[in-house]
């Protein structure tokens, strides 16, 4: 019987075992429940692997879905407990009988398509590889090693395909600078297989309104033996007994080690275990919480609450000084290690400057956690912000560089989502509290663009002005007189509304000259009046010469209706003086930038105010560091 056969005999009970696909290699006898394996040359043989004991998952055998428009069905799974996570590798078979794995865990659903990796990459190379080390997985596919972790369990369910069987299987996560991600599974004896990963959004995989429910695991505390209820098993990697306050690390569901002793301090929990609520319309239950403290400084503490939804996975709510943030671990489209340039993270062309860098320890905890919160040794955290978002880098140079994505939440959001939450008082400006900060460079460019557009509009609106001279006249005072009069010839103002500009000049010294202008419509008698004067003073005071005023001045009649006009001028001066005169220049259709300059001034007020306001809020957010990053 070859591997392609669809029916084989169970080696234990001799009942039939049906293989639905020629490539599947693990199956379970329906009669005696024996787990069997086959390869290309052999019959089914019994293998020493356990069935999946803790079956909690959103997907199930027989589930039918589609990926990239290709329908598939699920025939089985392999569940592996890694150091920091438990993953189900579901076997999917599409309509063309092609096989792929669909990884599920923590609300993430990732399509794993087998790829042929370069033969030169060995298990040993990956084992000894450093985080950040590059591997050429395929020709011209250079990926950076970002995670490496050991696997401790290998449990199967249904009819599965898997590249090899091993109880000691390591997982390596690599990512290219373009964001393509790969996972390599490797074990001893050069068993190695690589997959290209594609995250599938929950909405794409499940129909709207789909829900999932998990069975609660009841187990005694390994120390005080009191009964505990765990709601996210087998994805829980840490839990803390509420009675004896001991914390435990779940290596596999059957191997749990004491890892922590909580302080049992009173830290004013805003949310309580078992409390149910909604975040962004998704139902969640509070299953854990902890008090963390920054190493070294001693006083900075913050609180984190673990929320769980069987379909959507886990969400962390982080609270510091009354400011809230929702945090998703290892989200889809996380940054690549290469996106880090000095102290900045460039993500989707958006700069995220480094806000904080620290290591931490857990002071107190309650409930359960999907990650190993008690293992903080060698873990360095860096936070990069672009409010209301934050990228949190968790770096352990021996194990992984992982990312979590945080988004600001208002206290009202928490209050509405979790009625009954006891919210702490808010102080200061939160790390990612949106204050509407706008990058000054962006502000300057936008303002200059607006002013330029304004000038363009003004120029287009006044381009047809001709600047026509109506009167050029020297009005001479009589030597003995302080007054003079002048009446111009009539002239036409042809536009619907006209500007008539008036410029005067008088060669004066230490005196003043004044003229009153009357623009008279000769047909209607309507008059427009304006006064214009010049004064100029100069002298020597204390050995220094000084001068004030000007011998010329100008103004304009505005909005003058179309018609025939004349200009009457009545001049006056301070004292009679021989040779005094007023030079008069009157133009119509004059070009003036006055409207543009006032408009530009109004435009500039908002950006200047915005800059000063942003500076105030950002200096409160960053503290002294604000002046260092400027």
């Amino acid at each position: 019987m070859s591997a392609a056969s669809s029916i084989q005999e169970c080696p234990v009970c001799h009942q039939i075992i049906i293989w639905s696909n020629s490539q599947t290699v693990i199956n379970r006898c329906e009669s005696c429940k024996t787990i069997v394996a086959r390869n290309k040359d052999s019959r089914a043989k019994q293998i020493d692997y356990s069935p999946v004991v803790y079956k909690n998952a959103a997907l199930r055998i027989g589930y039918q879905g589609s990926f990239s428009g290709n329908p598939f069905r699920i025939t089985g799974r392999v569940q592996i407990s890694f150091e920091s996570q438990t993953i189900n590798y579901w076997t999917t078979i599409n309509n063309k009988n092609q096989i792929a794995l669909l990884a599920e865990g923590y609300g993430f659903y990732t399509w794993c398509e087998p790829i042929t990796m370069r033969a030169s990459i060995t298990v040993g190379q990956l084992q000894s590889g450093n985080i950040f080390q590059s591997f050429e997985l395929q020709d011209n596919v250079l990926a950076i090693l970002e995670e490496k972790e050991k696997g401790y369990g290998f449990e199967t369910d249904g009819e599965c395909w898997f590249p090899f069987f091993s109880q000691k299987l390591n997982r390596y996560f690599l990512q290219t600078p373009d964001g393509d991600s790969f996972v390599v599974l490797a074990a001893e004896s050069e068993n190695i297989a690589a997959f290209k990963q594609t995250d599938i959004p929950v909405e794409q995989l499940f129909k709207t309104g789909t829900t999932a429910s998990f069975e609660t695991r009841q187990q005694p505390c390994p120390v005080c033996k009191k009964e505990l209820l765990l709601k996210a098993f087998p994805y829980t990697k840490n839990y803390c007994c509420p009675y004896c306050k001991n914390g435990f690390y779940v290596e596999t569901p059957f191997d749990q080690q004491k890892a922590f002793k909580a302080d049992d301090s009173d830290w004013g929990r805003a949310l309580q275990p078992g409390q149910k609520g909604k975040i962004d319309g998704v139902d969640f239950e509070v299953i854990g919480g902890c008090l963390k403290q920054e190493e070294g400084l001693g006083s900075v503490t913050w609180r984190e609450y673990t929320l769980f939804n069987p379909l959507r996975g886990f969400l962390t709510l982080s609270e510091y000084d009354g400011h809230w943030m929702k945090v998703t671990d290892n989200p889809t489209g996380r940054p690549c290690a290469e996106a880090l340039v000095r102290d900045n993270l460039l993500f989707n062309s958006e700069p995220f400057p480094e806000f904080n860098a620290y290591s931490f320890r857990v002071l107190d905890a309650f409930g359960e956690f999907p990650y190993n919160i008690f293992s903080t040794s060698g873990m360095n955290i860096r936070e990069f912000i672009s409010p209301p978002e934050m990228w949190i880098q968790q770096f352990n140079n021996k194990k992984s560089i992982t990312w979590a994505h945080g988004t600001h939440l208002s206290p009202k959001h928490i209050e509405t989502g979790f009625p009954g939450a006891v919210l702490p008082t808010q102080t200061g400006v939160g790390a990612v509290e949106p204050t509407g900060y706008i990058n000054p460079a962006k502000l300057i460019v936008s303002t200059l663009t607006a002013v330029f557009l304004l000038f363009l509009l003004h120029h287009l609106g006044t381009i047809d002005r001709k600047e026509v001279n109506l009167i050029t006249q020297r009005i001479q005072f009589a030597d003995s007189s302080k007054v003079v009069s002048f009446v111009s010839d009539t002239f036409d103002l042809p536009r619907r509304k006209n500007i008539v500009s008036v410029d005067i000049f008088s060669a004066i010294s230490n005196t003043w000259v004044y003229a009153n202008f009357r623009l008279v419509n000769v047909k209607t008698g309507e008059e427009y009046n304006m006064g214009l004067g010049v004064e100029y003073y100069s002298g020597v005071d204390g050995g220094e010469s000084w001068s004030e005023g000007s011998s010329s001045s100008n103004s304009a009649f505005v909005k003058i209706p179309r018609g025939r006009y004349l200009l009457q001028v009545d001049g006056e001066k301070e004292k009679p003086e021989a040779g005094s005169y007023i030079s008069l220049y009157v133009n119509y259709d004059s070009y003036s930038n006055r409207n543009f300059w006032f408009a530009a001034l109004f435009i500039i007020i908002w950006p200047v105010g915005r800059f000063l306001r942003d500076r105030y809020f950002e200096s409160k957010r960053w503290g002294e560091a604000f002046f260092e990053i400027e």
């Binding site: 500007i499 009153n516 427009y528 004067g533 004030e548 505005v558 006055r594 006032f598 435009i603 908002w606």
Partner: protein, 51 residues
């Protein structure tokens, strides 16, 4: 683009108002903050001259 409009909605609003005002003045033969009312011109009485 959506983010840009969110950040600069006030600048865009002010630009529209101010540009409309400016163009209206240009069309109407008006100059900003200038009117045709009789203004009684008075010498400043410059301080330096009286020294």
């Amino acid at each position: 683009m959506k983010d840009y409009i969110r950040d600069f909605k006030w600048l865009i609003f002010i630009f529209i108002v101010v540009a409309t005002w400016m163009m209206w003045n240009d069309i109407e033969g008006d100059l900003a903050f200038q009117n045709n009312q009789q203004e009684k011109w008075e010498p400043n009485g410059i301080k330096g001259y009286h020294k």
